[in-house]
Subunit: 99 residues, 5 copies
């Protein structure tokens, strides 16, 4: 899975009928520190993500493994909203000495 | 899914029989602001897209999840015509003060 | 799908038994104007393509959707020979004035 | 499969219910000599990997082939902890002559 | 499929149980002329390839289409050992004139 930030959504009227009722989120990929990369993805929203949310995207056939997306011709889904990214390195930073 | 613009189509006589009746669209990838990228895709048309249309492309096994494409050896499908792309940033532009 | 030109074939004796009877084509990717790119693909021939032919390649599980390739451990198939690529732009070139 | 080093984990409360009980590892891709590359992956932990472990990642539908991940909308899984990478070249280094 | 050269193997004790009995080969990608590229792949050996062999790799769900790999969480398999790569260009070299 990759990290992305929700930055908008896509409006479509003429579409495959299996897409009805799905919200298509426009997501900008970010790295694990939240830094924006120059890649965009359109993904179905399976977790009621809001704009600005940091989310996880799953690609390929796995994108059809939510109740909402099964049988739909979609190759990307937002399947989790990220609360926190715990980096080992940052935790290894020594605490300030108690003196 | 990714954004693309329909810029032509592909003619083929000698092909796998499961492709019969499908229109193969030539699509040029674009970014979320419509700027052309230097990547081309051939995708089956599942939504009667016309040349010049801004569309969404789905890749992989998901490309076989339309009535038209199931069981066909195709890895890309045009499954939606894009009416509008709503960017949060543009909406966040502060309205002109009413004074 | 992507465009490629058949430039050779691959000979293999020691292989998975599900590959028996399949011709493995060596294909060089080209862009939509036929310009060679620097990428090679090995794909099963499902349409009796000949060397020099401009073809379409389908990747992933879709490569197993021909009668020939189902159940085989192959991730790429040549599923169409391209007769013509119709570019909108080229058709928009104004015809020579009749004077 | 690709090599990666576990460098943290991802916390998510609002997520698809099929993700419940899964640990999402943050992994930094490395090459076969352990040199860090500049790519990050989030993958489900299927082998109780610890932070700092060198692991193997499997992508796509294959990520759903563990007991833990089947039916979950995840496209990457940590399915092995690497003990050792045996390079032929290093073994081919001629032994010091016995004289 | 892509070409690769077997350059080693990967040892793992703590792994998903569906991987038991499989040999994990370390493969370096090469182009169609055997020139090494800078990409490494770990793939299950389905054809008893030896180190130094030039092989074909299949990726994705297709990697699970051998008797050995079905149901295993693996996304790459070595499914053929390459005897020869026949390039059209080289065959087109005119034979020495018989005079």
């Amino acid at each position: 899975m990759i990290f992305a930030k929700v930055i908008g959504n896509v409006v479509s009227t003429q579409k495959d009928e299996n897409l009805n009722g799905m919200k298509l989120l426009l997501c900008k990929e970010v790295d694990c520190k939240g830094k924006p990369l120059n890649t965009y993805h359109v993904a179905v929203d399976a977790v009621q993500a809001g704009e600005g949310d940091l989310v996880l995207l799953s690609y390929g056939s796995s994108a059809r493994m939510t109740d909402l997306t099964k049988n739909a011709p979609v190759d990307a889904v937002v399947m989790a909203i990220v609360d926190d990214i715990m980096l080992t390195e940052s935790r290894l930073v020594p605490k300030k000495k108690q003196s």
